[in-house]
Symmetry: D2
Subunit: 329 residues, 4 copies
C-alpha cells in the first residue's frame, strides 16, 4: 500500500475500524493487515490500482507498466482516446499520450473482451458509469434522437476526502444544488462511449450526440442516480415501455451487476454493492424515452468496478470479491 | 384553528415548541396562543386557509365562501380551469365545478392583480411554483421550443405528515429515487400556467407544450430544486446567458421574493424563507436553455405563499409576516 | 421465510434489491432466491429466527421447540430469568414461563459455552448488547461502585419498520431527543446480565446495581453508542487508563468481534458489520471510569448476533457469514 | 462588518442568500445591505460583536473598549474569572488579564443586572449555556450531590466553518462519537458558573463540584441536547418530579427564552430560535435527578444570546430581534 500524504503511517492510524486483531484463533481475518505501514514508493506488484490526481496518475502508470505491472487507473488520464479532447478538459499536456492507444475504457459491460487482454485499464468515472449504462442500449438500438439530457444526482463522497466548503457538513446537509454546470469533466467520456456504443450497435450517430450533463449534489454519503431523457426517433414512437425493456434486458442479458427493473430504482438498493439498477420507460404524453439508473458511486462507480476490471485482467471470476448486496436499510 | 384528527386537543399538545408562556411581561409573544383548543368546525372568520384532502377542500371552501369568508385553498381543488382535466388527474367528480371560474391561481408573481379582487385563491403546488417561476419568463419571451423537461428534487416534508414507508427515516435517508414517473399531479397546473404565461407574453405555444416532469425525493426535510431544460428556438440561438438574464431580471424586476442570480442556487439559501432563487443560463455546446430554481417547499411552496396571497386579498403589504431570510447553515 | 403482513408476497416485492437474476452463468448468486413466496406458517426447519412481537414470539417459539426446531428468538420474551420482572416490564402474562429456565441469554461473549448446548437462545436487545459489553469487564473485576449511568444514542432503525411519527423523516431529521426516560425495557436485562457478570467475576454487587439507562434518538439510520459512567471504588482510585485497558483486553482477549481501543470509537466504524468497539478510560479529575462502546444496532445488536448464536448452536465457525467490516465512509 | 480572511469581499459573495434587492418598493428589506464590502479594520461603532480566535479576541476587545465601544465577545477569552484556570485550559498567556475583573459572563438568566451596567460581556459557550441552564436551579436549591455528569450531544455547526475531517460530510454523516473526552474547554466555565449559582442560592458546594462533561457529535447541523445526572442529596430523596418542576418554574418564572416542560424536549423545537427547553425529572429507581435541556447552538448558544446581551447593554427590550420560534419540521 502506497500513499503520498499518509506515507509512514500504519493503516489502522487512518482507518481504525481495521483494528481487528487478526492473529487470534477463531477471529475474523481482515483482508488487510492493519499494522501494515504505508510506503511512499510502490513495491513491485503484479497489479496496481492508481488513485492519484490527473497527470501524476499517468506518469505513475507509465512507470509501473514499464516494470511489468498491470494497471487499473482510477483517474481520468487514460479514459479519453483523443489527446486534444483530454487537454481541453483537463487543462494540461498529457504526459504519455501514446498510452491512450493501448488503454481500454474499463466499463466491463461494454469492453469485456478487450479488458481481458490489455495491461492498462482506465476505470470510468462514477457519473459516466451510471449514465453510459443507462443509455448504451438505446443508442446501440438506434431508437433515440441525438439530443440527450442527463440529470445526475450524487452523494457527497464523490468529491473525495479532501476538505472543501462543498464537503463541509453544515454547508451541504439539508441542501441540494447543481455544480459544474458549464461542463463537467465526465461529459466527454460519456459522449465518447455512447457514440462508440451506437457504432457497435450499427446505429452510428451522424453529427454526434447533442448531450447535456448536469450533476447535482444531494445530502447523502453514497449513491448516484441519473435520470436520462431523449426523444424517440420518429420511426420508433410506437415503442412501448415493454418493448424498450426487452431491448435493455437483451443488452444486459448475461450481466451479473446490471439489473433492468420495472420500477424507479433507489440508490439505497446499491449501497455498498457493485450492482446497478436501470429502469427505462416511455413518457407516452411526450414520446420521450426516460431511463433512470443508479449505483453506489464508490463501488460500481469506483473501487468495485476496479476490482471487476482486475478480475478480468487476471481471468478470475468477474464477481470475485464483489458478492455483497446493498446494505438495507 | 380547526382540524379533523386533532379536534379537541390543545395546540401545544401537538406542537410543544409553542409552549412559551406568553402572559408574562417582557416575554416573546407567540403568534398563536398555545393553549387554544382545536375545534372540529371552523368558527366564523374573515379568512380561511384550507389544508384538506382533495374534494373535501372544495366542499369546505364552497361552504365558507357562502358565509362570506375569503378562502386560500392549499389543496389542488381550484387550481385547474378545466374540470375534465381535474377529474382525469384526481379521479373523482369535482363537487363545485362552477367555482373553477372564479378561483384565481395564486402565484402572486403572475396573477397579482386578479388575486387582489377575488375571494377564492388556489394556492399552487410546491413543484408547480418552482417550475413555473423558472420557465415563465422564457415562454413569455417566446425564446424556447415547446419541448420542455423539468427534473425536480424535493425534500421529504413535501409528502406531508402522514405515515408511509416513503417518509420513514430509515427508508429515505441515504437514498434518492424518482417517483410518480408516469404523471405527477402538478404536471397539468404547470402546463396550464406556462401556456397562459406564453399567451400573456404574446408568444402563444401553438400545439401546446410537450412537457415532461419527473420529481425526485432527496434525503432532506425542506427544499425543492427544479432543473429545467429546453432547446432555444432556431431564431434565438445567438442569445447568451447575459441576454437571458436580462430577460429574467426584467420579468421579475419588482418582485420581493424572486431573485435572478448568476450562479447555481442552493435550496439551503431559501430554508425557512419565502424567497425563490433562479439561475438561467445557456448550455452553449447544445444551444439549450437551462434554468435552475429553488425555494422552500413549505414556505414559498405552501404556507408562505398562502400568507402572500392573503396579504394581497386584504391589501396588506405583500411581504407582511414574510421577512425571514434563509436560515444558515 | 415466514411473515404475517407480507404472507403471499414474493421477497423481491418487498426488497427489490434482491432482484439479481441468479440463474445465469457468471452471476452473483444471492443468498436468498428473490422469487421465493413468503408463507404464513413456518415450514419444518432445523433452525428458526423469530422476529415477532412480545408474547407472540414466546408462543411461536414454544411450538417450534416442540417439533424439534432450534430457536434464536429476537424478541424480549426469553431474555429475563424472573417471570415477575418480565410481567412487570412487558405488562402481560408470560405464555410459557417454564421456558425461561432453559433459555440462554445470547450474548456470545458472556455465555458462549451455554449457548452451544441449548436449543433456545434469547437474542439480546441492541442497547443491552452495547451496554453490557461496555460494563461487564469492570463489574467482573469489581472496580466500580454500584451506581452506574448509561447514556445511549441510537439511530432510527432501532425502532423497526413500523410507521410512527418517531420514525417520520421530517420529524426526526435534524433532531436529537431522549425517549423512554421513565424506564426503557432494556434496563432489566442490562441489570440482570451485569449482576451475573459481577458474580461470575467473584465480585457480586451487594444490594444490586443502582443503574440509570437513558436512550436517545439521533438522526442516522444505523448505530448505537453508549457512554457509561461509574465511580471507581475507593480502593481502586489509583487505577490508570492503561490499567483499565489491560483488564478489558484480557476480558475480551479471544473475541473476534469485540475490540478494545485507545480512542473514542465512531459508530460508523461498525456500519454493516458485527464488530463492537470499546474505549474505557479514567476521568482523572473525578476518579470516574467512563466506557464508550458502539456497534451496528442491526448487526451485532440484532441480526448479526443472531447468526453468531446460530453458528454456536450448530458448531459452525462463530464468524461464519459475519466477515464484513464496517462500510466506510 | 469586519473579517480577516474575507476582507475586501462583498457580503453577498459569501452569503448569496442575502442578495435580495432591497432598494425596490414593496420589497423585503434585509437587515444587512448585501453589497456592503467587508473591511479588515473595525469602524468606530457603539457596539462590537467579536468572533475571533482565543487571544486575538482579547486583544481586539481591549482595543475597542479603549475607544469607547461596548463589546460582546463570543470567544472564551473573558469567560473565566481566574487567569490561571484560563491559561491552563487555553495554553497561552492571557493578553489583558485585568479585564477578567470587569467582564461579565453573559448568561442573561443568571447575570441580567450586571450585564446591564458593564461594557464587556463574555458570551457563554454553547455547551456551557445548555448545561448551566439545566443545572443552575438544582444547585441553587441545594438538592443535589456535588457529583454531576453531563452528557452533551451537539450538531456539527458547533465546530464552525473551518475545514477539518471532523466536519467532512462523508465522515460525520451516519456517525456518532464522543470528542474532547479528556477535558473539553467548556468544563471550567460550567463549573465556575454552577458553583456561583449554588453560592447565590445560599447553598455553596463545599469542596466544589465533581463534574464530568462529555460532548458528542451527532449528524445534524444545529442543536445541542445535554442530559445531566446527579444524585439527590440524602435529605431530598422524597422530592418528586412535580416538586422539582416547581423549583425550576420558579427559578425561570420571568424568563422569555427558558421553558420548563413536562416531557423530553427535542432540539428541533429550538431550531433557528433563541428558546431553551428544560425537562427535569426524578429517576425514582435510583433517586437521581435527571435534567434534559436543549437549544440551538448557533442562536441561544451563540449569536442569539449575543443579541440578547446587546439588548441588555443598551436597555432595549431583551427579546428585540429574537422573536422567531423554532422552524418546524
Amino acid at each position: 500500500m502506497t500513499a503520498r500524504s499518509a506515507a509512514g503511517k500504519r493503516i489502522d492510524d487512518i482507518f481504525p475500524q481495521l483494528c481487528t486483531n487478526s492473529q487470534l484463533p477463531g477471529q475474523v481475518t481482515p483482508a488487510i493487515n492493519p499494522s501494515l505501514v504505508i510506503s511512499e514508493e510502490p513495491a513491485q506488484t503484479d497489479l496496481a490500482f492508481i488513485c492519484l490526481p490527473h497527470a501524476v496518475a499517468a506518469e505513475t502508470g507509465a512507470r509501473l507498466l514499464e516494470r511489468g505491472t498491470k494497471v487499473v487507473d482510477l483517474s481520468a488520464d487514460f479514459r479519453l482516446h483523443d489527446v486534444r479532447e483530454y487537454e481541453q478538459w483537463y487543462k494540461h499536456t498529457h504526459p504519455v499520450p501514446a498510452l491512450l492507444e493501448t488503454a481500454v475504457y474499463g466499463l466491463c459491460e461494454l469492453h469485456r473482451e478487450r479488458i481481458r487482454t490489455t495491461s492498462l485499464v482506465a476505470n470510468p468515472g462514477c457519473h459516466a458509469t451510471t449514465s453510459i449504462l443507462a443509455l448504451a442500449p438505446a443508442v446501440a438500438a438506434g431508437i433515440i434522437e441525438p439530443g440527450v439530457i442527463i440529470d445526475s444526482k450524487t452523494g457527497i463522497s464523490g468529491a473525495g476526502r479532501s476538505l472543501t466548503l462543498a464537503t463541509h457538513y453544515a454547508e451541504v446537509n439539508e441542501d441540494v444544488s447543481a455544480y459544474s454546470v458549464l461542463g463537467h469533466r465526465h461529459l466527454p467520456e460519456i459522449t465518447q462511449e455512447l457514440e462508440e456504443a451506437a457504432q457497435a450497435g450499427s446505429h452510428p450517430v451522424s453529427g454526434g450526440l447533442r448531450l447535456t450533463f448536469i450533476p447535482h449534489l444531494v445530502p447523502m454519503t453514497r449513491g448516484i442516480l441519473a435520470t436520462c431523457y431523449a426523444d424517440l426517433q420518429p420511426g420508433q414512437r410506437s415503442l412501448t415501455t415493454n418493448d424498450i425493456r426487452a431491448i435493455y434486458e437483451e443488452y444486459y442479458a448475461n450481466e451479473p451487476f446490471v439489473h433492468v427493473i420495472d420500477q424507479p430504482p433507489h440508490t439505497k438498493w446499491s449501497y455498498g454493492s457493485n450492482h446497478c439498477f436501470i429502469h427505462p420507460f416511455v413518457d407516452t404524453r411526450t414520446q420521450r424515452l426516460i431511463i433512470i439508473s443508479c449505483l453506489d458511486n464508490l463501488v460500481k462507480g469506483a473501487a468495485g468496478q476496479a476490482v471487476q476490471n482486475a478480475n478480468l485482467l487476471y481471468g478470475f471470476s468477474e464477481s470475485a470479491g464483489l458478492s455483497a448486496i446493498g446494505i438495507n436499510p
